[in-house]
């Protein structure tokens, strides 16, 4: 892929991820547990993983976390989102590159959602020096399965549609 085209596509994806995370903040969450959310921006991460390389994915996730925490304020927000974002991106990359025979996009997305929550809880327990936040993990795992399933279905439809358009081919 030509560098210019790649740059344009990646910027487009980044802006879409940012819009999705803003849209997501408008959706009320029924469970009063910190960290439960839809994770719509993960749709974009999933698409990048499917069509682009490892380095692109990592850079995009870091940039997304940086920019979205600028919108919603604060370095601690950035730490939370980047820890979850990076861990989930790495897990999804490994699963997609090495184990795509046994994991579908839905499964990879569920694994991504759950590792996102694990990363956030780990940072939360370090920042607040409080082990009891790990008590939230069961709830976060259940919500991760549900939201990961939803996000995974969305991404697999999007990936199929994008494959037909040939946008990501040379």
């Amino acid at each position: 892929m030509k560098t210019t085209k790649k740059l344009v596509l990646l910027s487009l994806m980044l802006s879409q991820a940012l819009v999705l995370s803003i849209v997501e903040s408008w959706i009320p969450v029924p469970v009063p547990v910190p960290g439960v959310k839809l994770g719509l921006a993960n749709i974009v991460t999933m698409v990048i993983i499917a069509f682009m390389g490892t380095a692109d994915t990592i850079i995009l996730v870091i940039l997304r976390c940086l920019l979205s925490s600028m919108f919603s304020g604060g370095i601690s927000v950035f730490l939370f989102s980047v820890s979850g974002g990076l861990l989930s991106a790495v897990v999804m990359l490994v699963l997609h590159k090495k184990f795509s025979k046994i994991f579908s996009v839905v499964g990879i997305s569920i694994a991504g959602a759950i590792s996102h929550n694990i990363g956030q809880i780990m940072v939360a327990s370090v920042i607040m020096k409080e082990v009891s936040v790990f008590g939230y993990l069961p709830v976060l795992f259940i919500s991760g399965i549900i939201t990961g399933c939803f996000v995974g279905l969305c991404s697999s439809f999007l990936i199929k549609a994008l494959q037909k358009t040939n946008i990501f081919n040379n």
Partner: protein, 126 residues
């Protein structure tokens, strides 16, 4: 479209959730009936310890920080009553009344948790 690994993953995670919930219930039921001590922490420091069984009159505690949390204490229970943080997860958590209950305000780094105390407590410590 769903592959073998997906099902294994979901089953494994569900099993972990089950074990976690069982373990948590076990912890809750140990030393049942002891005093319920609410601990309020802000920025890694304990700012207040309250023996919930000894609360006579309802009290409001204001925790200042990046945001302001207002904590309401009544006999046997405690909650974030109001806050000006953006997500209000802490307020939505509602009342905490059992050992092991936890409410967190991540934006303000405030935590309320209820611990059981097996030893006798002399009173309220500040």
């Amino acid at each position: 479209m769903i592959k073998k690994g997906d099902i294994i993953l979901v089953v494994a995670v569900s099993a972990m959730v089950l074990v976690g919930i069982l373990g948590f219930n076990f912890y809750k039921n140990t030393h049942k009936g002891v005093r319920k001590i609410a601990v309020i922490k802000k920025d890694n420091e304990i700012i207040r310890t309250i023996d919930l069984d000894n609360v006579e009159n309802p009290e409001r505690i204001t925790v200042e920080g990046k945001y302001t949390d207002i904590i309401l204490v009544e006999k046997g229970r405690i909650r974030f009553e109001n806050a000006d943080c953006p997500d209000l997860v802490c307020v939505k958590t509602g009342w905490l009344s059992e050992k092991g209950d936890l409410a967190v305000c991540l934006p303000n780094q405030t935590i309320i948790k209820i611990e059981g105390e097996t030893e006798e407590v002399d009173g309220i410590t500040y």
